[in-house]
Symmetry: C2
């Protein structure tokens, strides 16, 4: 959030921002902003604030935007295609370099410049290309199976969009992006 805001400020030629500015724009309180920026190692000047360009650099470093991780995506349904097309990820330190699906209609095709391979090529390619990040956008049913394949292929981090909890060894990081759960949270707020 901070990063996106700062980039917009840079675009409009702003040189400095204060915590107060940021807090007002993002509906936060200034101490919260200061603490968050502090934790990234940002240093500001009293009466002036933080230098926008410098702060952006610090956040890019902290968030790891300077180093691009290559990722494999499995499940080229609508969501998989949307993620494959989403260019924003490359600014955030990740590039989807290949995608996988079992549908003969999709295998061999290119979506947004990304080739679709059959799932049985996953392990070999992942190991040869030293891929450590996997994205799962399959239906819930296939997700655990795909996760197992990813683990045995040397994947160390799984970004899971399937609405199911994955069981993986504890040294593999899983982050669930559960759209149904997110919707539930949203609706329960919106209905109040």
């Amino acid at each position: 959030m901070y990063y996106q805001y700062l980039v917009r400020q840079r675009t409009i030629g702003q040189q400095f921002v204060s915590c107060t500015n940021i807090a007002e724009e993002l509906n936060l309180v200034s101490v919260q902003v200061r603490k968050d920026l502090q934790s990234a190692g940002a240093v500001g000047k009293p009466k002036v604030g933080y230098e926008v360009k410098q702060l952006i650099g610090i956040l890019e470093e902290t968030l790891g935007y300077n180093y691009i991780n290559e990722a494999f995506l499995v499940g080229m349904g609508n969501l998989g295609q949307a993620l494959a097309a989403y260019r924003e990820f490359e600014k955030c330190g990740m590039e989807i370099v290949a995608t996988f699906d079992n549908s003969p209609l999709k295998i061999g095709r290119d979506y947004f410049g990304k080739r679709v391979f059959p799932l049985n090529k996953f392990e070999n390619l992942a190991q040869r290309m030293n891929i450590k990040i996997g994205i799962i956008t399959t239906p819930a049913q296939q997700a655990q199976e795909v996760a197992d394949l990813m683990v045995s292929s040397g994947i160390e981090g799984i970004w899971n969009f399937a609405p199911i909890h994955l069981n993986v060894p504890k040294d593999v990081v899983v982050q669930n992006e559960n759209l149904g759960a997110a919707l539930s949270v949203f609706l329960s707020k919106a209905r109040k």
Copy 2:
């Protein structure tokens, strides 16, 4: 998460579950599970646990799955199309009943049974159909403008997928689903 797990348990014919079961499956601790279920009003029996079907009912009630909210979606790019196609939402209390875009290539077409209207039809349709939920899947640039349109059309809750903070009146609920930010969080965990 609990709901999805319980539905799977029901599918395989499980009648009761204990906090310990759930915690083990979802990598939580049992007290956490008990507290969460308690907050939804669940009541269990010592030595037995919670009755699966009853617990599902309680969660459906708490999460509002029994009442379907109609929603309008703006921005029929890849992500918009993916959300429009995602049937899971209907189980979670929301149905996308119309979509909007300004591209002449998309207007009038049907995507997954959902008609695409030009944006200038939004206000009229929203008011006539009494729509209270809006989903934004436009690029960041257009998002604030769309949010303003939604607010003036009577929308009370905005589910925002554009990577930008929206300014809206304080009685309008906004939930941001920021994929870039989510990716940043994931990568910083996965890289450790």
